[in-house]
Symmetry: none
Subunit: 127 residues, 4 copies
């Protein structure tokens, strides 16, 4: 279920975040589903609990999960208006950077569209 690559240049805590976001978007993790505890998750993934903790904190900050003291951590109901304009701006900048990079790698607009179709095809497969 979780893809973690300790060799990757991407920090492990970010990979955990990405995994949970993906499972949530795919509706495999649904609102009010309980996440494994920090320690369970850490031993599942063979990583340091601090790393998992950092991921959970960031996800909480982004209102994707929330913690109930003494109960555990749960997937949140997506807000209608996230309006975290900083994150939007950053994401759109990243999108721009990647389009440029892909441009240099021979991917032009239509080819990028096709790749995105593929990604959505995968994301919406479940649900």
């Amino acid at each position: 279920m979780f893809n973690i690559n300790i060799t990757s240049d991407k920090p492990i805590y970010e990979q955990i975040i990405d995994n949970i976001k993906e499972l949530s978007l795919k509706n495999i993790l649904k609102p009010d589903d309980k996440l494994p505890s920090v320690r369970q998750m850490a031993s599942m993934l063979s990583v340091n609990p601090n790393t998992v903790s950092k991921a959970y904190q960031e996800l909480e900050r982004q209102k994707i999960i929330h913690t109930v003291r003494g109960k555990g951590t749960f997937i949140s109901i997506p807000a209608d208006y996230p309006i975290d304009s900083d994150r939007i701006i950053k994401s759109l900048e990243s999108l721009r950077t990647i389009c440029i990079e892909l441009g240099h790698l021979g991917f032009h607009k239509e080819k990028i569209f096709k790749e995105i179709e593929k990604i959505y095809c995968d994301i919406e497969k479940e649900g």
Copy 2:
């Protein structure tokens, strides 16, 4: 011409790389155009020459620029078959991650397509 943000979390040398890639894709920097020398660029950007040098070296590895000994650094002619499959895989993974992130921010497929149209509109404006 160059947008560098010293306070950004993205390393300066990567920002330089991104800027040059963008200018090259926009055809503002054309093949055989001379880039500012390492020292010129460094003083333009108020940055250490080593930082510029690192950016140039990475761009050279990616065959986007090349150096002529004692003369300077020049934009290369795009190769017909670059195909650095590692870079392609990484870029497509980033694209996937960003689509998921944008999904959580309320951007679904059609909205992402519109954003990419905007990006291409900007890139191809010159030419």
Copy 3:
């Protein structure tokens, strides 16, 4: 273990690269073995950490080593298909240049073969 000659005309970071490649080919450094940390290696060789870092980064680009975040740097398992055709072309050009140079120094084909036998004898001694 490591032969570094500060007065050599060959850059120190390249000498470090060559040393690690040799130890790896001799199987003295085996896959998953941990390399000394950048700082350890730097103090071992009485060299600046940045210089070691540059060597490690180049070795990583060549997929001979890889880093695990927060853990250190490790010898990689040789890929089945590395095939960096640029590096192969460059190496064969160097081989050609050296054969010509050795030709001028009185080494002809058979004598070069004998030298290579010696080199392989040394490389395969361990293992």
Copy 4:
């Protein structure tokens, strides 16, 4: 006849040296043949005369060519005993380094032998 690549990482003056050594070994340039003057060579190759001059000086130091004042520069008769042991040691070290590099690129002894056969095949073609 001359292959010079100003984009190469190898200094131009070394490329000139390599070219002349190769032509000499192939016996296309024979003892007592006159080389183009520094200026002729420079304009032939579109390089700076200083660069050609540096190459000629190094070739003279290696006793591969010699200058007759007022007459020009000529290919020397190969000495029976070059005994430039420094150059021999350096060349054999380079040979070793390249064998190791080629080892990492999937070329083992027999394959290297084959490459050398190819090189000699090319060198001795003329004669």
